[in-house]
Symmetry: C2
Subunit: 205 residues, 2 copies
Protein backbone atom coordinates (compact mmCIF):
# COMPACT_ATOMS: atom_id res chain seq x y z
CA UNK A 1 0.00 0.00 0.00
CA UNK A 2 0.94 3.65 -0.38
CA UNK A 3 2.51 5.11 2.75
CA UNK A 4 1.01 8.49 1.98
CA UNK A 5 -2.16 7.13 3.49
CA UNK A 6 -0.62 7.53 6.92
CA UNK A 7 0.24 11.17 6.32
CA UNK A 8 -3.47 11.90 5.95
CA UNK A 9 -5.26 13.59 8.84
CA UNK A 10 -6.48 10.96 11.28
CA UNK A 11 -10.12 11.83 10.65
CA UNK A 12 -9.80 11.11 6.95
CA UNK A 13 -7.90 7.92 7.60
CA UNK A 14 -10.65 6.73 9.87
CA UNK A 15 -13.35 7.81 7.43
CA UNK A 16 -11.79 5.50 4.88
CA UNK A 17 -11.31 2.69 7.37
CA UNK A 18 -14.87 2.94 8.61
CA UNK A 19 -16.18 3.05 5.07
CA UNK A 20 -14.29 -0.15 4.41
CA UNK A 21 -15.60 -1.82 7.54
CA UNK A 22 -19.10 -0.79 6.62
CA UNK A 23 -19.21 -1.97 3.02
CA UNK A 24 -17.26 -5.19 3.63
CA UNK A 25 -19.49 -6.01 6.56
CA UNK A 26 -22.67 -5.60 4.55
CA UNK A 27 -21.63 -7.53 1.46
CA UNK A 28 -19.39 -10.43 0.66
CA UNK A 29 -15.85 -9.60 -0.40
CA UNK A 30 -16.59 -10.03 -4.08
CA UNK A 31 -19.74 -7.94 -3.96
CA UNK A 32 -18.16 -5.06 -2.07
CA UNK A 33 -17.32 -2.44 -4.70
CA UNK A 34 -14.39 -0.12 -4.19
CA UNK A 35 -16.53 2.69 -5.59
CA UNK A 36 -19.03 2.23 -2.79
CA UNK A 37 -16.27 2.40 -0.20
CA UNK A 38 -14.87 5.53 -1.78
CA UNK A 39 -18.30 7.15 -1.78
CA UNK A 40 -18.87 6.25 1.86
CA UNK A 41 -15.49 7.73 2.71
CA UNK A 42 -16.19 10.91 0.77
CA UNK A 43 -13.35 10.52 -1.70
CA UNK A 44 -13.07 9.47 -5.29
CA UNK A 45 -12.49 5.91 -6.36
CA UNK A 46 -9.23 6.93 -8.02
CA UNK A 47 -7.88 8.29 -4.79
CA UNK A 48 -8.78 5.16 -2.94
CA UNK A 49 -6.84 3.19 -5.54
CA UNK A 50 -4.03 5.64 -5.03
CA UNK A 51 -3.70 4.66 -1.39
CA UNK A 52 -4.47 0.96 -1.84
CA UNK A 53 -3.27 -0.61 -5.05
CA UNK A 54 -6.10 -3.08 -5.22
CA UNK A 55 -9.13 -4.34 -3.33
CA UNK A 56 -7.36 -7.29 -1.79
CA UNK A 57 -4.75 -5.02 -0.28
CA UNK A 58 -7.37 -2.80 1.29
CA UNK A 59 -9.26 -5.77 2.67
CA UNK A 60 -6.20 -7.30 4.26
CA UNK A 61 -5.15 -3.93 5.60
CA UNK A 62 -8.54 -3.53 7.24
CA UNK A 63 -8.24 -6.88 8.91
CA UNK A 64 -4.84 -5.93 10.19
CA UNK A 65 -6.25 -2.73 11.63
CA UNK A 66 -8.92 -4.74 13.38
CA UNK A 67 -6.39 -6.74 15.25
CA UNK A 68 -4.36 -3.66 16.00
CA UNK A 69 -7.33 -1.71 17.32
CA UNK A 70 -8.69 -4.45 19.52
CA UNK A 71 -5.42 -5.66 20.96
CA UNK A 72 -4.39 -2.11 21.71
CA UNK A 73 -7.71 -1.43 23.39
CA UNK A 74 -7.37 -4.56 25.46
CA UNK A 75 -3.89 -3.69 26.56
CA UNK A 76 -5.00 -0.25 27.63
CA UNK A 77 -8.11 -1.33 29.45
CA UNK A 78 -7.17 -4.66 30.94
CA UNK A 79 -4.02 -3.75 32.73
CA UNK A 80 -5.73 -5.22 35.72
CA UNK A 81 -8.52 -7.77 35.64
CA UNK A 82 -11.44 -7.41 38.05
CA UNK A 83 -12.08 -10.38 40.27
CA UNK A 84 -15.83 -10.09 40.16
CA UNK A 85 -17.45 -11.75 37.17
CA UNK A 86 -20.02 -9.03 36.67
CA UNK A 87 -17.41 -6.31 36.88
CA UNK A 88 -15.44 -8.27 34.35
CA UNK A 89 -18.41 -8.69 32.05
CA UNK A 90 -19.28 -5.04 32.25
CA UNK A 91 -15.72 -4.02 31.58
CA UNK A 92 -15.61 -6.25 28.54
CA UNK A 93 -18.78 -4.77 27.16
CA UNK A 94 -17.58 -1.29 27.91
CA UNK A 95 -14.47 -1.95 25.88
CA UNK A 96 -16.65 -3.20 23.07
CA UNK A 97 -18.76 -0.08 23.32
CA UNK A 98 -15.72 2.14 23.22
CA UNK A 99 -14.46 0.48 20.08
CA UNK A 100 -17.90 0.66 18.55
CA UNK A 101 -18.06 4.35 19.25
CA UNK A 102 -15.04 4.93 17.07
CA UNK A 103 -15.48 2.07 14.59
CA UNK A 104 -19.18 1.24 14.43
CA UNK A 105 -18.85 -1.60 11.94
CA UNK A 106 -15.66 -3.23 13.14
CA UNK A 107 -17.49 -5.99 14.95
CA UNK A 108 -19.67 -6.86 12.00
CA UNK A 109 -16.66 -6.77 9.72
CA UNK A 110 -14.79 -9.25 11.85
CA UNK A 111 -17.67 -11.68 11.86
CA UNK A 112 -18.24 -11.38 8.14
CA UNK A 113 -14.61 -11.82 7.22
CA UNK A 114 -14.38 -14.73 9.61
CA UNK A 115 -16.79 -16.65 7.41
CA UNK A 116 -15.56 -15.27 4.09
CA UNK A 117 -15.18 -17.94 1.44
CA UNK A 118 -13.67 -16.05 -1.48
CA UNK A 119 -10.43 -17.77 -2.54
CA UNK A 120 -8.77 -14.40 -3.16
CA UNK A 121 -8.60 -13.65 0.55
CA UNK A 122 -9.91 -16.69 2.39
CA UNK A 123 -6.57 -18.31 3.18
CA UNK A 124 -4.95 -15.09 4.31
CA UNK A 125 -7.78 -14.37 6.69
CA UNK A 126 -7.86 -17.85 8.13
CA UNK A 127 -4.15 -17.61 8.67
CA UNK A 128 -4.44 -14.32 10.54
CA UNK A 129 -7.43 -15.43 12.57
CA UNK A 130 -5.42 -17.78 14.72
CA UNK A 131 -3.82 -14.85 16.49
CA UNK A 132 -7.10 -13.08 16.94
CA UNK A 133 -8.54 -14.88 19.92
CA UNK A 134 -11.00 -12.22 20.84
CA UNK A 135 -11.83 -10.72 24.14
CA UNK A 136 -15.11 -12.51 24.63
CA UNK A 137 -13.22 -15.20 26.40
CA UNK A 138 -11.53 -12.97 28.92
CA UNK A 139 -14.19 -13.79 31.47
CA UNK A 140 -12.66 -17.22 31.80
CA UNK A 141 -9.66 -15.66 33.42
CA UNK A 142 -11.86 -14.60 36.27
CA UNK A 143 -12.61 -17.06 39.00
CA UNK A 144 -16.10 -18.45 38.67
CA UNK A 145 -16.36 -20.89 41.53
CA UNK A 146 -16.94 -18.18 44.05
CA UNK A 147 -19.04 -18.11 47.16
CA UNK A 148 -21.04 -15.15 46.00
CA UNK A 149 -23.51 -17.04 43.81
CA UNK A 150 -26.71 -18.64 44.97
CA UNK A 151 -26.04 -22.30 45.68
CA UNK A 152 -26.88 -24.89 43.07
CA UNK A 153 -26.61 -22.47 40.19
CA UNK A 154 -25.07 -23.83 37.00
CA UNK A 155 -22.33 -21.24 36.65
CA UNK A 156 -21.19 -22.22 33.19
CA UNK A 157 -24.73 -22.02 31.91
CA UNK A 158 -25.11 -18.68 33.65
CA UNK A 159 -22.10 -17.29 31.86
CA UNK A 160 -23.14 -18.82 28.56
CA UNK A 161 -26.63 -17.35 28.63
CA UNK A 162 -25.30 -13.97 29.71
CA UNK A 163 -22.93 -14.03 26.79
CA UNK A 164 -25.65 -15.02 24.35
CA UNK A 165 -27.92 -12.33 25.68
CA UNK A 166 -25.36 -9.61 25.14
CA UNK A 167 -24.75 -10.89 21.63
CA UNK A 168 -28.48 -10.97 20.97
CA UNK A 169 -28.85 -7.47 22.30
CA UNK A 170 -26.06 -6.19 20.10
CA UNK A 171 -27.43 -7.93 17.06
CA UNK A 172 -30.88 -6.45 17.59
CA UNK A 173 -29.52 -2.95 17.91
CA UNK A 174 -27.17 -3.30 14.99
CA UNK A 175 -29.95 -4.59 12.78
CA UNK A 176 -32.07 -1.65 13.75
CA UNK A 177 -29.12 0.51 12.81
CA UNK A 178 -29.57 2.45 16.01
CA UNK A 179 -26.65 1.49 18.16
CA UNK A 180 -25.09 4.40 19.93
CA UNK A 181 -22.37 3.43 22.33
CA UNK A 182 -23.90 5.57 25.07
CA UNK A 183 -27.26 3.88 24.88
CA UNK A 184 -25.50 0.56 24.87
CA UNK A 185 -23.54 1.34 27.99
CA UNK A 186 -26.63 2.53 29.82
CA UNK A 187 -28.55 -0.59 28.86
CA UNK A 188 -25.77 -2.90 29.92
CA UNK A 189 -25.60 -1.31 33.32
CA UNK A 190 -29.23 -2.24 33.82
CA UNK A 191 -28.89 -5.70 32.36
CA UNK A 192 -25.85 -6.68 34.34
CA UNK A 193 -27.42 -5.25 37.45
CA UNK A 194 -30.37 -7.53 36.86
CA UNK A 195 -28.13 -10.55 36.54
CA UNK A 196 -26.18 -9.64 39.60
CA UNK A 197 -29.32 -9.37 41.63
CA UNK A 198 -30.76 -12.59 40.29
CA UNK A 199 -27.67 -14.76 40.50
CA UNK A 200 -25.80 -13.68 43.61
CA UNK A 201 -26.65 -14.41 47.22
CA UNK A 202 -27.04 -10.85 48.42
CA UNK A 203 -28.69 -9.79 45.17
CA UNK A 204 -32.36 -9.64 46.03
CA UNK A 205 -34.12 -8.44 49.18
Amino acid sequence: MNDKFFTLPKTKQEAIINAGFHVFSQNSYKKSPMSEIADAAGISKSLLFHYFHNKRELYLFLWDRCMEITTKSLEENLSFVPEDLFEMMFKGLKIKADIMRQYPDLGAFVVKSYYEKDPDVCEDIQQLIAKYTNFNKIAFFTSLDSEQFIPGLDLQMMYQTMYWASEGYLWEKVQQGSLTADEMEADFIKIIDFWKKAYTKRGLT
Copy 2:
Protein backbone atom coordinates in the same frame (compact mmCIF):
# COMPACT_ATOMS: atom_id res chain seq x y z
CA MET B 1 -46.13 -16.04 -11.53
CA ASN B 2 -46.60 -19.25 -13.47
CA ASP B 3 -49.02 -21.66 -11.83
CA LYS B 4 -47.10 -24.60 -13.18
CA PHE B 5 -44.75 -24.06 -10.28
CA PHE B 6 -47.34 -25.60 -7.98
CA THR B 7 -47.63 -28.74 -10.06
CA LEU B 8 -43.99 -29.49 -9.36
CA PRO B 9 -43.19 -32.18 -6.82
CA LYS B 10 -43.09 -30.67 -3.35
CA THR B 11 -39.41 -31.45 -2.93
CA LYS B 12 -38.50 -29.46 -6.00
CA GLN B 13 -40.74 -26.59 -4.97
CA GLU B 14 -39.03 -26.44 -1.62
CA ALA B 15 -35.60 -26.72 -3.18
CA ILE B 16 -36.36 -23.57 -5.13
CA ILE B 17 -37.88 -21.80 -2.15
CA ASN B 18 -34.96 -22.66 0.10
CA ALA B 19 -32.51 -21.60 -2.57
CA GLY B 20 -34.29 -18.26 -2.71
CA PHE B 21 -34.28 -17.86 1.06
CA HIS B 22 -30.62 -18.69 1.12
CA VAL B 23 -29.36 -16.33 -1.55
CA PHE B 24 -31.62 -13.44 -0.58
CA SER B 25 -30.61 -13.83 3.05
CA GLN B 26 -26.91 -13.69 2.25
CA ASN B 27 -26.97 -10.71 -0.11
CA SER B 28 -29.01 -7.61 -0.60
CA TYR B 29 -31.89 -7.82 -3.03
CA LYS B 30 -29.95 -6.17 -5.81
CA LYS B 31 -26.88 -8.32 -5.34
CA SER B 32 -28.80 -11.59 -5.27
CA PRO B 33 -28.48 -13.04 -8.76
CA MET B 34 -31.22 -15.23 -10.15
CA SER B 35 -28.52 -17.46 -11.62
CA GLU B 36 -27.19 -18.17 -8.16
CA ILE B 37 -30.63 -19.10 -6.92
CA ALA B 38 -31.17 -21.38 -9.89
CA ASP B 39 -27.84 -23.08 -9.25
CA ALA B 40 -28.62 -23.58 -5.59
CA ALA B 41 -31.96 -25.09 -6.54
CA GLY B 42 -30.39 -27.38 -9.10
CA ILE B 43 -32.24 -25.97 -12.11
CA SER B 44 -31.32 -23.69 -14.96
CA LYS B 45 -31.78 -19.96 -14.83
CA SER B 46 -34.18 -20.13 -17.76
CA LEU B 47 -36.45 -22.50 -15.93
CA LEU B 48 -36.48 -20.29 -12.89
CA PHE B 49 -37.56 -17.42 -15.12
CA HIS B 50 -40.19 -19.72 -16.53
CA TYR B 51 -41.84 -20.09 -13.13
CA PHE B 52 -41.25 -16.53 -11.96
CA HIS B 53 -41.40 -13.84 -14.60
CA ASN B 54 -38.85 -11.64 -12.90
CA LYS B 55 -36.77 -11.32 -9.78
CA ARG B 56 -39.17 -9.01 -8.00
CA GLU B 57 -41.97 -11.52 -8.40
CA LEU B 58 -39.89 -14.30 -6.90
CA TYR B 59 -38.82 -12.12 -4.02
CA LEU B 60 -42.36 -11.10 -3.16
CA PHE B 61 -43.55 -14.64 -3.56
CA LEU B 62 -40.92 -15.79 -1.08
CA TRP B 63 -42.04 -13.21 1.42
CA ASP B 64 -45.59 -14.38 1.01
CA ARG B 65 -44.53 -17.94 1.65
CA CYS B 66 -42.77 -16.82 4.80
CA MET B 67 -45.97 -15.47 6.22
CA GLU B 68 -47.89 -18.50 5.09
CA ILE B 69 -45.43 -20.93 6.60
CA THR B 70 -45.15 -19.19 9.94
CA THR B 71 -48.80 -18.37 10.45
CA LYS B 72 -49.75 -21.91 9.53
CA SER B 73 -47.20 -23.29 11.94
CA LEU B 74 -48.49 -21.03 14.68
CA GLU B 75 -52.08 -22.04 14.09
CA GLU B 76 -51.16 -25.70 14.27
CA ASN B 77 -49.00 -25.45 17.34
CA LEU B 78 -50.67 -22.78 19.40
CA SER B 79 -54.17 -24.08 19.51
CA PHE B 80 -53.80 -23.74 23.23
CA VAL B 81 -51.40 -21.42 25.00
CA PRO B 82 -49.52 -22.70 28.03
CA GLU B 83 -49.96 -20.67 31.18
CA ASP B 84 -46.41 -21.11 32.35
CA LEU B 85 -43.96 -18.62 30.88
CA PHE B 86 -41.17 -21.14 30.46
CA GLU B 87 -43.45 -23.62 28.79
CA MET B 88 -44.53 -20.85 26.52
CA MET B 89 -40.99 -19.83 25.73
CA PHE B 90 -39.95 -23.36 25.00
CA LYS B 91 -42.94 -23.94 22.80
CA GLY B 92 -42.14 -20.79 20.86
CA LEU B 93 -38.57 -21.85 20.32
CA LYS B 94 -39.64 -25.34 19.38
CA ILE B 95 -41.86 -23.88 16.70
CA LYS B 96 -38.95 -21.84 15.45
CA ALA B 97 -36.79 -24.96 15.40
CA ASP B 98 -39.39 -26.89 13.46
CA ILE B 99 -39.59 -24.22 10.83
CA MET B 100 -35.84 -24.01 10.66
CA ARG B 101 -35.61 -27.72 10.10
CA GLN B 102 -37.61 -27.45 6.90
CA TYR B 103 -36.55 -23.95 5.84
CA PRO B 104 -33.11 -23.31 7.28
CA ASP B 105 -32.77 -19.78 5.95
CA LEU B 106 -36.30 -18.50 6.45
CA GLY B 107 -35.44 -16.65 9.62
CA ALA B 108 -32.44 -14.91 8.14
CA PHE B 109 -34.45 -14.05 5.04
CA VAL B 110 -37.14 -12.38 7.09
CA VAL B 111 -34.66 -10.24 8.97
CA LYS B 112 -32.79 -9.26 5.84
CA SER B 113 -35.89 -8.34 3.91
CA TYR B 114 -37.17 -6.43 6.91
CA TYR B 115 -34.30 -4.00 6.53
CA GLU B 116 -34.16 -4.08 2.73
CA LYS B 117 -33.77 -0.63 1.24
CA ASP B 118 -34.05 -1.27 -2.51
CA PRO B 119 -36.85 0.88 -3.96
CA ASP B 120 -37.92 -1.97 -6.25
CA VAL B 121 -39.30 -3.96 -3.34
CA CYS B 122 -38.97 -1.84 -0.22
CA GLU B 123 -42.49 -0.42 -0.15
CA ASP B 124 -44.15 -3.74 -0.87
CA ILE B 125 -42.27 -5.41 1.94
CA GLN B 126 -42.97 -2.66 4.43
CA GLN B 127 -46.61 -2.87 3.52
CA LEU B 128 -46.74 -6.60 4.10
CA ILE B 129 -44.75 -6.43 7.29
CA ALA B 130 -47.56 -4.85 9.26
CA LYS B 131 -49.47 -8.10 9.20
CA TYR B 132 -46.44 -10.10 10.17
CA THR B 133 -46.33 -9.43 13.87
CA ASN B 134 -44.15 -12.36 14.66
CA PHE B 135 -44.45 -14.91 17.35
CA ASN B 136 -41.69 -13.55 19.50
CA LYS B 137 -44.27 -11.49 21.24
CA ILE B 138 -46.59 -14.32 22.07
CA ALA B 139 -45.06 -14.63 25.49
CA PHE B 140 -46.79 -11.42 26.38
CA PHE B 141 -50.10 -13.21 26.15
CA THR B 142 -49.04 -15.30 29.07
CA SER B 143 -49.48 -13.95 32.51
CA LEU B 144 -46.20 -12.70 33.90
CA ASP B 145 -47.18 -11.33 37.29
CA SER B 146 -47.35 -14.72 38.81
CA GLU B 147 -46.49 -15.90 42.27
CA GLN B 148 -44.02 -18.45 41.01
CA PHE B 149 -41.05 -16.11 40.61
CA ILE B 150 -38.61 -15.15 43.29
CA PRO B 151 -39.68 -11.88 44.85
CA GLY B 152 -38.16 -8.63 43.70
CA LEU B 153 -37.21 -9.98 40.31
CA ASP B 154 -37.59 -7.57 37.38
CA LEU B 155 -39.85 -9.73 35.26
CA GLN B 156 -39.72 -7.63 32.15
CA MET B 157 -35.95 -7.62 32.24
CA MET B 158 -36.01 -11.32 32.82
CA TYR B 159 -38.07 -11.90 29.72
CA GLN B 160 -36.03 -9.44 27.71
CA THR B 161 -32.70 -11.07 28.56
CA MET B 162 -34.12 -14.51 27.92
CA TYR B 163 -35.27 -13.39 24.53
CA TRP B 164 -31.93 -11.81 23.71
CA ALA B 165 -30.12 -14.94 24.81
CA SER B 166 -32.15 -17.16 22.52
CA GLU B 167 -31.53 -14.78 19.65
CA GLY B 168 -27.84 -14.72 20.43
CA TYR B 169 -27.75 -18.48 20.61
CA LEU B 170 -29.48 -18.84 17.28
CA TRP B 171 -27.25 -16.27 15.65
CA GLU B 172 -24.14 -18.03 16.86
CA LYS B 173 -25.28 -21.35 15.52
CA VAL B 174 -26.42 -19.92 12.21
CA GLN B 175 -23.12 -18.14 11.72
CA GLN B 176 -21.28 -21.35 12.40
CA GLY B 177 -23.51 -22.93 9.79
CA SER B 178 -24.08 -25.81 12.14
CA LEU B 179 -27.71 -25.50 13.06
CA THR B 180 -29.46 -28.80 13.38
CA ALA B 181 -32.89 -28.49 14.85
CA ASP B 182 -32.35 -31.48 17.09
CA GLU B 183 -29.26 -30.05 18.71
CA MET B 184 -31.07 -26.77 19.06
CA GLU B 185 -34.03 -28.32 20.81
CA ALA B 186 -31.82 -30.22 23.20
CA ASP B 187 -29.90 -27.08 24.03
CA PHE B 188 -33.03 -25.08 24.65
CA ILE B 189 -34.32 -27.65 27.09
CA LYS B 190 -31.18 -27.18 29.13
CA ILE B 191 -31.17 -23.41 28.84
CA ILE B 192 -34.78 -22.94 29.81
CA ASP B 193 -34.38 -25.39 32.62
CA PHE B 194 -31.55 -23.25 33.92
CA TRP B 195 -33.70 -20.14 33.81
CA LYS B 196 -36.58 -21.87 35.48
CA LYS B 197 -34.36 -22.98 38.32
CA ALA B 198 -32.75 -19.59 38.70
CA TYR B 199 -35.84 -17.43 38.48
CA THR B 200 -38.64 -19.35 40.18
CA LYS B 201 -39.18 -19.88 43.88
CA ARG B 202 -39.00 -23.63 43.90
CA GLY B 203 -36.24 -23.73 41.33
CA LEU B 204 -33.10 -24.27 43.36
CA THR B 205 -32.33 -26.25 46.49
